[in-house]
């Protein structure tokens, strides 16, 4: 069994108007030192063991086809091996 964490973020070339709006609010709070805020998405995924394919292969396929739109987003992931939960 694996716990996988996936982070999807806009590519650097893509404007993030929501992040800009949040940065504006942070500045109004008085934190002028905040230079930039980018908003992304975070997924926690549980994957059971299979001999058919590697967990990396599964996660990358899911990310490429569904979790991220690779035209404007990129992703990274962390895989942690855990004991089967009962």
């Amino acid at each position: 069994m694996y716990n996988v964490k996936v982070y999807v973020t806009y590519k650097e070339s893509i404007l993030d108007p929501q992040g800009e709006a949040v940065r504006g609010a942070v500045h109004r709070m008085g934190f002028d030192e905040i230079e930039d805020i980018r908003i992304g998405k975070y997924f926690e995924i549980k994957v059971s063991d299979t001999d058919d394919r590697s967990v990396e292969e599964v996660i990358e396929t899911i990310c490429d086809k569904l979790l991220a739109n690779v035209v404007m987003e990129s992703y990274r992931y962390e895989i942690e091996r855990v004991k089967e939960t009962v």
Binding site: L66, N69, V71, M72
Partner: protein, 227 residues
């Protein structure tokens, strides 16, 4: 000509499309659920606006994997006409049937108003009833219509005359090159953010959208006669 109006959970412009076909151009149209496994007997496919699957994850991202979409993809690959408006356009780009992506509007607002569109390609099967560079009055209603593509894709779109509609005066969403609607390389899949189906009667403000559907029908009739 017989049209399929696809209904996804959360579609809300399906009735408008059916009305545009049946009462606007006087052709046949039927609703087809997202679970359908066949598009046999249809000559054209229409993907409506709305908020399919609540826009979860990204607009169109989940609908793209509904049963009927593999059929829509096959239908498109056979060269048959597919049109997506608003959420339908978002689904077409997520499905990879059109290039690019639709981002959140630049000013973060959901924009619902009538805009001026320019017909920049009247040589497609969807636009032959329009004059070149004609200005149209058509409504938009979306929060994520900010069309984006990389420079390479944009150059291809321009080189192949794939940009069909642009916002003429006031770009509501910040899209690249004021793009409002594009067509695929083969010329049979068109997606646009504005709603021609909401502009088919003068009593509702404009009938400029009617000729969009008339173009589809006339070109279908012409092609069928040639075969």
């Amino acid at each position: 000509m017989r049209f399929a109006v696809i209904q996804f959970p959360g579609s809300n412009c399906d009735v408008d499309l059916l009305h545009a076909i049946r009462d606007g151009v006087g052709e046949e149209a039927e609703y087809v659920p997202h679970t359908a496994e066949s598009l046999d007997g249809f000559d054209g496919v229409l993907l409506p606006g709305g908020f399919s699957y609540g826009d979860y994850l990204r607009s169109g991202a989940i609908s793209r994997f509904s049963n009927v979409m593999s059929e829509v993809t096959r239908f498109a690959e056979e060269g048959k006409p597919v049109f997506g408006t608003c959420n339908g356009f978002q689904i077409l780009v997520e499905a990879g049937l059109l290039p690019g992506a639709l981002q959140r509007n630049e000013n973060l607002h959901f924009i619902c108003k009538t805009v001026e569109l320019e017909v920049v390609n009247n040589q497609t099967r969807f636009t032959t009833e329009y004059n070149d560079r004609e200005l149209l009055t058509i409504p938009v209603a979306h929060g994520e219509g900010n069309y984006y593509c990389d420079e390479e894709t944009l150059a291809e779109l321009k080189a192949n005359d794939q940009i069909v509609f642009t916002y003429a005066s006031d770009n509501p969403n910040g899209s690249v090159e004021n793009i409002a609607g594009i067509i695929n390389r083969q010329g049979n899949v068109l997606g646009m953010m504005p709603h021609p189906e909401r502009a088919i009667e003068d009593i509702l403000g404009s009938s400029d959208g009617l000729r969009f559907f008339e173009s589809m029908v006339k070109n279908f009739v012409k092609e069928t006669a040639e075969v």
